[in-house]
Symmetry: D2
Subunit: 455 residues, 4 copies
């Protein structure tokens, strides 16, 4: 009887495979499903069932593909917003036997209407569930967001409250296995810790501690979450089921003398290297989007049908980037370009840089004619920001670009300089010639004890 | 904040690494310690401390070696039977901060007098421990054995009872992280399941459910455990600390024409292939001990200073065998011999076989002049055995060999045929020429509805 | 400028990838093509062209699939027996530039009419070819077989003679890169050595040393080669091009209690473990075909549309077996069954054994009523055999089974016991109840100095 | 009979393992020897002998360590400059049998006095050597340098000439297996191609084509090679034999808030990231030395007993760097610091940048008060350089630093910008505040058709 957690960084997505006596079940598989088959094989198990705790909106579900590959059945909760064409609907108390294990459905709507949790019983030690897969209903330190139904926000928050009480009642001694960890766009307050129990959450989870339903509803309705535009596409795709595997298999290398010709017009050039590399030297008209920020920001800044050239340190990094894109349905990474700017330059190619500047220089420049653009989330901005700064969330930069003037001078900032560099690259690629990055950003500013404002 | 379980099959040993913000702690490392360093590196952590929950008697501790390698400090509980020369003694409530984690010592004597458990707190969600490393005090489905102090058996069983109450009280909501899983020689009743919580154990663990101390003590004293002779050597070595790494690095291949010469006298020939292979054909005078039975039976059948030739399907299998031996302090695996018996024979070498026989044939032969030797544990034998059978536990075969007559005919049996083959090989290598293996053994016998006895 | 040899054991197939300055070319890819893409990626190259030195008859070509995957062009020689639908035809002196490399076609018909060799020039050191890909025209120690056109055997042998002279003339200083090594069914006399030069072959290769065309033709016509029935299927498939990847992706594990039911009728049970394991214990009605003999004998003993259950030590071994089958177009390995016969028996399942016997016992039994069946190649048999033996080549056993009587007693033999075990398993699965294997076979017989005959 | 080439990038070092029938021989092993053991194991061979073609001066030999590990014998040529304490001396025509292979010594002094080559014969095809290990005597496209005995330079060049004639005579049909490939400091003219034969070299190798001994000697004496200061240390260590394995096993991560305290004084901070990253942002006082330039330039710029903090993108990159250092005897890489400059800055740490500039800006700045410093090799500089530039070879920068003025402004350049960045970092770390890097350097300059000078 084994259980294994499969973490997908970037998305902070957690999926699970649990097996006993030759059979295994997968919960919430991601699109690149080989890993589940490998684990099943290693444990000499056949994957018989795949549970989806809800219709995912932040990533492509691997359930249809994995089901096809293994001859497994996909199980999905009731009340989905659109028909899940590839799955069988399960309801409260439905059970699946897996060797000496028993999985049992608990309907836990709220985050979505089709959300379920799944109790995990050991037939040999069956007094109460040993574990519970909580999907996006209950996280370590947080609970699911409830902003997906704007017209019924109080209603679904109330549903979530009831669902949480249900979990507390039916699995008080269980380990929780949620669908996301810290860093996910599906919640703000998740713990960095990867393990917890229902009992521990009851004592520590700020939202689970709330005993009053109305107070819970009000607190949930007061939350502010961003809704990336690609979510609706994920919802559409995950209803009908994506059963093609991750694309592309091969990222064709593009020689150094070819990039400047036709590709710059037909393709997005996306530089996935570290921000330090991008600041140092990058290809003209290329965007910065470091590897581990792809799943968080590609859905805001680019379109899923854009054709892409990945600029990376090496093929491995480029493949990893293509995989990240593919996990959220961006399947058109076609070429890899090796970011050896010294070589590119030595062959006559152009390069561009962006200057990173320290707090002291920012302080001095904003007193001159430079604009300071803070691209953090609104919640971060409200907690503390620099008086002279203007706020546009990085995710909104594409939509609000017309509010900025390419002739003006901009210093971008965020919490550390990461998102600021992505923003600076976005501006520069869109014709802003005077852009600098505030390195260290809010952290560096506060380390100098410079004044901040709150709102 | 990550936690990772390192499973060591054979020993069914569980060790852990837990880290946060650049620092990590290891609990109960095994001798081959590279895996901890690899995980720490991957998580960009430095291993600062190593906890030993008790002085291990069934495996070589990797704590001294890992400490030397990483500059870490080893922490060990008080009241050890012998001074732990390489470790700092910690006491109840002693704490170690690891990034945003806090580890806190709970003295839990019983299994050994120096047993401790370690509470795991998340400073951000600190209301109660989120986890507890329970060593050999509390397992999933079982508790630690208490037969190591024969003169004070009631006393230490009572200590264990108190320790368990302590755990229930101080970590009711915690996940448990024990030092062993199912298959370990450190307990009989461990669950096959790899995960549990204190709360779930309280409801399901037969021994944790006992509320009466005297009843608990009586039940523990009634348990029967085997004590392999190598345990005392492990205790000695683990007190002084083994800080040489796993030996050998290189297992020299031995050509097919060399084995029959000098090696058969100076070396033990141990065939670690599947029992089916051994039955089919093996080198004369070689012992059978399949790869995953090494840690359980080598300590009974062979001496730790024996020089060994490993006979295996390939070098990889041989290296795995040498590693298994090394984990329990058998460091003299020097040669690897490829068990291609067709090749060996084609070059003029000898081979031997053992006939596996089905239940029907066993039934018929024991009515003639064949002896049926059951090598299971006494507890298994008592539950059900064949009337005509004689019992000698496999682990006692070496010591009780003189009770058997090499001129007699023996059919060996166990539960399935695995241990029976090891026993048959042991007899054959010791000059018993008429040996057969009851394939399927007790399982096959009962599948035929043949009569059994209980005792 | 790199070159890498990809060896495929079993088929003894050699393929190559050679690259320079961001571009690479593959020669004679096998069906599982990921390895070429991986090497290209690692060397930051795009695969632009794929050469086929001839239409392969012993394995599925990976050229169509790799071409589709990489957008590469497949190049094939002229005069193919059937149109190669997926390839461009190249002729003598046609060239392909690959970075600083130049590849140039040499038409070398003989083995097949469409055979080409490919010269490899380094543009910076261009005085003569540095290497030559010789396909099945010239091997290390041997030359290609010329028995594929029975009606024109002298003609094609003569073509090969001329082709070899051509190679000697145009690439005297080159390293040779042939399509097969020792163990291939495409030749008998190949050296075990993996590297050679044209100049070294001129001095050492028995057939290349022949200066007289007629003598060469006569010697080639006197050669005797076996032609496995699956060759014609390979030819058909490789003309039209197989562009599905290796099947299956997942080999479903079959629980121990299921095999005896429906599967034994609808499926071939093929046991790919070592012969020692099979001899020791195997599932009734299962065939023996050890992993590394699959590509050599599956094409003789089984049909490519048979549905197969692979019996193996573990999933990894089963997957390797399925891969071997897939390389020769056997795509119906559907299940994996773990060959733990002790477990199977303990659950009431049946097992069968085959007794291996030494030379002395063979000598004695053939003087009684046992038949001795030698399954080696005819060439081996002619060199030396036991007087009492009857010869049927293992590959012909299926076709000539009616010549044997299931009521009779058979001892199978070969050179060592490997093929003898495959033969014994084949007989046993076909209802022969009295079968033994001569372990060591001809080697063991001769080691005893027992008498042999020649013919 | 297998042969495998082990390439060590950076050093462009080639070593070999060749085996037959259970025994293998290694030629010129590098210090990290696990790879040879792994290959031997995989091929079921025991390493019986290790040949050193000469006493290496550019890397630590792994021969003593590998010999100890495997119980193998090290063989070394006669006339070594210092006694090779761990090796047996072999002479012309000495032979070693390895399965079906025979290795035979050819004394080929010149590069060093103890240089030998080793002929490789296949006993089954023994007419002439099939291969020859040529050490630093004969490369693909070049021959060994002969500047190690300044007082006898004509003499040793003559020795090399004679040795080359010997190779041509005794192995005309052989494949050559040299000890270095393109990029090595042991030669300038090596081909990028990794494979060749004696016959092909005779026709293409500029130095092997020379038929006149005096002409050869003159040409060799006219060559200019750099002699890194660490060579003498390598010679000393390789005479006595280094038999400790690569250090360190563990590179301790250094938290972001610790680097600025004590470490900057006691340690060298070496940043091994890409030059683009370094240009973008780096830790104050850190040196730039990208991963693949370590073995070429560490020996010039740093001392082997310096204690080092490796600054890298991640632990894997840091470990790779430590390995590179260790291969040339730099064993004091103690810490790893993650180069996330955004994080460092956000915690209040400092960062520094270097501006990369294009050709047009260089042209303009050198007409003002900026100095242009060309750090290429003298041979490169002589072929073409910018009139305004001053030349100091990068390797000499440490020794000639006093010739430059920290108050002056410097633009560094090389062929592309790589070495220029290393030089710029070296200047900046030594207190030069006004440093820029000419990105694209000579390549970019010439792509603009700007004027150059020769000689």
């Amino acid at each position: 009887m084994f259980i294994q957690t499969i973490k997908t960084p970037g998305l902070a997505h957690l999926s699970y495979i649990v097996g006993s006596q030759g059979t295994a079940v997968v919960i919430d598989p991601r699109r690149d499903v080989d890993i589940y088959v490998d684990i099943a094989n290693k444990n000499e198990c056949r994957i018989s069932h795949i549970f989806e705790t809800h219709r995912n909106e932040d990533l492509i579900s691997g359930a249809p593909l994995l089901a096809k590959l293994c001859g497994a059945q996909v199980l999905h909760g009731p009340h989905a917003d659109a028909e899940i064409t590839y799955a069988v609907t399960v309801h409260q108390d439905d059970q699946v036997e897996v060797g000496n294990l028993r999985l049992e459905v608990v309907e836990t709507p709220g985050h979505t209407k089709d959300s379920i949790s799944i109790l995990l019983f050991d037939n040999d030690f069956a007094e109460g569930a040993a574990g519970i897969f909580t999907g996006d209903t209950l996280f370590v330190g947080d609970v699911g967001r409830t902003d997906f139904y704007p017209l019924e926000s109080a209603h679904v928050a109330g549903l979530l409250y009831d669902s949480l009480q249900k979990i507390k009642a039916c699995a008080p001694a269980a380990i929780i296995y949620p669908a996301h960890g810290a860093g996910s766009v599906c919640g703000d307050g998740m713990a960095d810790r990867e393990f917890s129990t229902v009992a521990h959450e009851v004592k520590n989870n700020p939202l689970l501690k709330i005993d009053d339903k109305q107070e819970f509803i009000q607190q949930k309705m007061a939350e502010q979450h961003y809704l990336p535009p690609y979510f609706s596409e994920m919802e559409r795709l995950n209803s009908q089921g994506v059963n093609t595997s991750v694309q592309p298999k091969v990222l064709t290398p593009l020689p150094h003398n070819q990039l400047n010709k036709k590709y710059q017009q037909a393709y997005l050039l996306i530089d996935v290297r570290s921000i330090e590399s991008y600041l140092g030297a990058h290809i003209a008209h290329s965007f910065s989007l470091p590897l581990d920020m792809i799943t968080a920001y590609a859905g805001w800044l680019f379109k899923s049908d854009d054709k892409i050239v990945i600029i990376a340190d090496d093929q491995h990094m480029a493949s990893q980037a293509a995989l990240q894109f593919s996990r959220i349905g961006y399947d058109h990474c076609e070429y890899y370009f090796s970011a050896n700017l010294a070589e590119v330059s030595a062959k006559g190619g152009d390069f561009v840089s962006v200057s990173p500047i320290p707090a002291s220089e920012v302080k001095s420049l904003v007193e001159q004619d430079w604009n300071l653009l803070d691209v953090r989330k609104l919640t971060e901005y409200k907690q503390a920001h620099i008086a002279a700064s203007k706020h546009i969330f990085l995710g909104h930069l594409a939509a609000q670009l017309s509010k900025l003037n390419p002739q003006d001078k901009y210093i971008t900032m965020c919490a550390s300089g990461m998102r600021a560099t992505v923003a600076a690259g976005y501006l520069q690629a869109n014709g802003f010639d005077n852009v600098k990055v505030f390195m260290g950003s809010m952290g560096a500013w506060q380390a100098q004890d410079y004044p901040v404002e709150k709102a």
